[in-house]
């Protein structure tokens, strides 16, 4: 049956296979599978089908399980009236940029901190990790003030994608994840590359990065979903309707738009992250547990 009968948990496998234990186990398993499906997928089903119902059907008691007269028009309306194509494109653009900036700058920083050992490296790492202790809400106001008038340069990043890309780089968690991974790559490899006359950049590109694919994948997924899920920051720094992200756009329209259309738009907004999850769920789960257990 199970692939891991060797590992003993709270209740022994032997006990679960015997008489009463077996009945209890199978009952419990059925209850859990059905219950969890209802609790976690049920609402999503309600959301997808609810957006297909007419206003009247939504308000009827008892509610109908299947839309009696499906109205795909709600999805079409959402797409057109809320200009979802534009909003989706914006969000995608911000997520892709944040990904590139984080991959380039955070990987370089983690590589330097792990392998090149710059002066004051540990102090810098410490200062970066300290930011993990600062609640995001505390920083929102001064960060906003900084973004509308960047010190020294005196430019405003309002409505500019850099207002999302550059703060995304200041991600101590990702740098820490990457640094830990690089730390586990043996020094001997670095030494061998040095003997062969490879520059640090060359070593990073040809030796370190190819070995780090799993962790780069995890960081990439985190980077993309973080932008897709963020709400308050893009709401503040992307005030124009043309630069909004999809979540903010739906929120902005939710007041004067029929409920079904808002829900239809919410479904569309959720599709990309849910797809990413279903495709990369293995990487996401392993990244989550390694990251959080050792962090």
């Amino acid at each position: 049956m199970a692939q891991d009968t060797a590992t003993r948990t709270l209740i022994s496998s032997a006990q679960l296979r015997r008489g009463r234990g077996r009945i209890v186990y199978w009952t419990l398993l059925t209850v859990v599978v059905v219950g969890f499906t209802l609790v976690f997928v049920g609402p999503l089903y309600w959301m997808v089908t609810g957006a297909l119902k007419s206003g009247q059907e939504i308000a009827q008691t008892p509610p109908s399980l299947f839309p009696r007269d499906p109205q795909p028009q709600n999805y079409v309306d959402a797409w057109r009236h809320l200009d979802l194509a534009k909003l989706l494109f914006n969000t995608f653009y911000y997520a892709a940029g944040a990904l590139v900036f984080q991959l380039v700058l955070d990987t370089a920083a983690a590589y330097a901190l792990s392998k090149l050992r710059p002066v004051l490296g540990n102090l810098i790492l410490g200062l970066m990790l300290a930011t993990l202790m600062i609640p995001a809400m505390v920083l929102v106001v001064p960060q906003y003030v900084t973004v509308i008038d960047l010190p020294i340069l005196h430019v405003s990043l309002l409505d500019s994608p850099f207002a999302i890309w550059l703060p995304a780089v200041a991600n101590a968690f990702n740098i820490f994840l990457l640094k830990r991974f690089f730390d586990s790559i043996p020094e001997e490899l670095m030494a061998a590359a040095l003997v062969d006359g490879a520059s640090p950049l060359r070593t990073l590109w040809s030796i370190i990065l190819p070995m780090s694919r799993p962790i780069l994948g995890v960081v990439s997924i985190f980077a993309v979903t973080a932008v897709w899920k963020d709400f308050l920051w893009p709401k503040l720094v992307m005030p124009s309707p043309e630069t909004r992200t999809i979540s903010v756009g739906i929120y902005a329209f939710s007041g004067g738009t029929p409920m079904n259309v808002v829900i239809a738009a919410s479904v569309i907004a959720a599709i990309p992250t849910v797809l990413i999850f279903l495709i990369f769920q293995r990487n996401i789960m392993s990244g989550l547990t390694t990251g959080s257990l050792k962090g």
Binding site: D4, L10, W46, P62, P63, L139, V141, M190, S254, T289
Partner: protein, 318 residues
Amino acid sequence: MAITTAPGITRKPGRPAPPYPPGPRRASLGRRVRDNLTGHAFLIGAVTCFAFFSWYPMVRGVVMSFQRTRRGVTTWVGWDNYERILADPSFWAAWKNTLYFTFLALVLGYAVPFFVAVLLNELRHAKGYLRILVYLPVMLPPASALFLFKFYAYDPSDAGLFNSILTALHLPTSQWMQSAEMTMPAMVIASTWMNMGGAVLIYLAALQGIPGELYEAAELDGAGIWRRIRHVTIPQTRLILALLAMLQIVATMQFFVEPLILANGTGTQDSATSVAYLIYQHGFFQNDLNGAAALGVIMLVVLAGFSAAYVRLSAKQD
């Protein structure tokens, strides 16, 4: 001098010797930077971003909380902002709500994932499927998930998802977000549904690290399932349990999207206002960025107090 390890001997991670020979011992900082120019060049991008968007705003937030800007002129006003914030009746309502939310979120969002993880760890089948299910809501944009709750689950009429379930079970229905008493529990339920996946996965990983012999020994000593949970499972996962409690407190104390989307910010009679929402309202509606900064500093102090208490408590236990 840098590379002296004999082949085959792996160094301890974390303290590898510098592969690029550092300069003379007591060389000046500038000199040492010049000797490892590449190392510093690689750091510069991330460090600049941290400087502009984390380190500087941190200092600036504290400074701002003691200043006031009127018609473009910034003056030092001492504790004025704090006094104004403390005099705002919403301040205390917001803290009361925030502490209540944090408390409920600890009971629900902390205990439920743990028992879900213990349960999932016992099942020999469908593990992968159940894990995906639990984590699925975490991947939804919060706005999507909250609109789902707002319009469908918490529909105060009998057609709402929760109310239809309650009716089917012959239980009294609720006004949900329209009743001041249900606002907080309703927000916690939505928030737990949205966020519990991460905690469940972390607990599952911790549970898998418990040596099976411990359970075996406990069983031989005649310990039933509950006593095995109490004397083996909980002590063995204590560190993770404590860490997640801390993270949960810090995360839930900043709840913001829930009141904004579910309760249009304040809810009926300030029943939904949170401290984080108050920061947002002061900063971006009342054009009182300095007051909002002061609120942020107060929040930081409270959360730092929690962390300090946590560190002291956990140090005592060891």
